[in-house]
Point group: C2
Chain length 308, copies 2
């Protein structure tokens, strides 16, 4: 057997992962967990791929907002179209930072624009637009396409878990239907295993299959305590492994503590300004929890041999 997880440096994070997987498979004195119960859940932005300088989906939305404002001058003085058109990314950053700090004053304006950006198109048309963007757009500073912004050690971890009988789901605060077109190719996670936020949808029959249309209203934001709820809704099981990187992942990580099974909580720490980014904003409470409890902190600087 070759050494597992070659993209990971030797250290406590790699040790914890291997010990957990061996325990679920009946290594040592533990009883093997039935394969059907081997469930792992992963946040996406900042856990499986980059989220700086802005979440990838926000770039997708901003480009659409700019196009809307070019077509309709009335939108140019309204947020979020104004900020998008003027490339005032600070406005978006402030709104998101306020949200993670518990202040949703400006979230309504942002959400209104986000929901309007892709309203009244079919889920199939949205799927095609998201896929075209993800296959063509490039990260603004890392010198690579967005699909190459997935973290190699995490993709390797998903493969290692699959080899050991795990089913992995993506439980993201980002849009479910934004990730689906590329989840299998990028992560080995099929589209039915992507959980995430969604707009409200409606079905219309038309005699030839009908179509499902996106409405300009949120269905739910898959963040914080909604993450465990949507994991249950989709899978009907408590996960054994959860990986996240921000305050919005705390409840999902809490939920993965099993009364009578091995379990593991991973928190990715962005501490590598040279190879990726170095930031703690939006993750302060999560890091406190990791240090209080027995969560495993994954330091990008120390634990990953390669990042991409």
């Amino acid at each position: 057997m070759s050494e597992p997880l070659p993209s990971w440096n030797a250290g406590p994070a790699k040790d914890a992962i291997i010990a957990f997987v061996e325990a679920t498979c009946g290594g040592g004195s533990a009883e093997a967990v039935p394969v059907a119960e081997r469930l792992a859940v992963f946040d996406n932005d900042g856990t499986l791929w980059c989220e700086k300088p802005m979440p990838i989906q926000l770039d997708f939305i901003l480009r659409r907002l700019v196009a809307m404002a070019e077509a309709d001058p009335d939108l140019r003085d309204r947020q979020p179209w104004k900020a998008a058109r003027e490339q005032d990314y600070g406005w978006f950053g402030t709104v998101l930072a306020e949200h993670y700090a518990g202040d949703d004053t400006h979230v309504a304006a942002l959400a209104g624009g986000v929901l309007a950006a892709f309203a009244d198109i079919s889920v199939d048309a949205f799927d095609a637009q998201a896929e075209a963007f993800l296959r063509s757009a490039r990260h603004p500073s890392l010198g690579r396409g967005y699909l190459e912004c997935a973290y190699a050690p995490m993709v390797e971890l998903l493969g290692y878990l699959a080899e050991h009988g795990f089913s992995s789901y993506i439980a993201s605060g980002g849009g479910r239907d934004f990730m689906r077109p590329i989840s299998d190719e990028t992560y080995g996670v099929p589209r039915e295993s992507v959980i995430g936020s969604s707009t409200a949808l409606a079905y219309t029959s038309d005699g030839s299959g009908g179509s499902i249309t996106r409405k300009a209203a949120a269905d739910y934001l898959d963040d914080g305590p909604e993450k465990p709820v949507h994991i249950w809704t989709r899978v009907g099981r408590r996960p054994l492994l959860a990986a996240g990187n921000s305050n919005g992942d705390i409840e999902m990580l809490d939920y993965s503590r099993h009364p009578d099974r091995p379990s593991l909580r991973l928190l990715v720490l962005h501490d590598d300004a040279e190879r990726e980014f170095d930031y703690l904003g939006g993750a302060e409470r999560a890091l406190d929890r990791a240090r209080q409890d027995d969560w495993t902190v994954v330091s990008i600087r120390n634990d990953w041999r390669t990042v991409f």
Copy 2:
């Protein structure tokens, strides 16, 4: 090769199923459909198991309503506790018949009782209660336990589809979490592949994994145009095969018409008073559609060699 689907009599329904499955697998001149796209969806009540004299879940709920009314005399004059305690099943039948005819006047009272019956307990406690009921309770007239009320030809069809690379989901108007504990054993459909109606849920952390609690409010009723929406939400694909038996399945069957893939719509017709039941109530529009379009009607009397 032994003859497929031995519980099905020779005839147009069996022929249509076999021709469809062979076409998806590349038989004849057709190009094989990739395995990942081989999606089938099934209604549950009246399609995979009996729904007369009342849906099985209604029996589960009624027993709980009776127990609530025994414990709290104030409930005894309120619907639906009054009807449950007095075994006035006609009241429930009328409300459901009104609902299927488009009149929801009494649905609010029924829904209020149904939602209260299992409110404020964890999804794990509900799972255990549903499983205990389904393993012990018996059908009132068929002389068999509820778990033996699954239709053998449909279970055989699920197996036949699985052998040919299909993933099958249960898209039921009934409760998702009611079916999950027995879906794998009864149908070979794992719990993550059960779609269905749900109450609202909420997660609470407690330092040891936390729990997900059922609220006394509906999340959604997975019926009519909501069925295609929740199939997309869960799977992210248009099905190739849909099977139902009532007006609430029409949109799901419509949605399974594929622009460039083989597809099949099955409508189970309850026309066998001797071996099961003979009724058309709640399925009139669906049967009209089956006759207008190219849906395949499955006659229990003519197409099934055995029912259970």
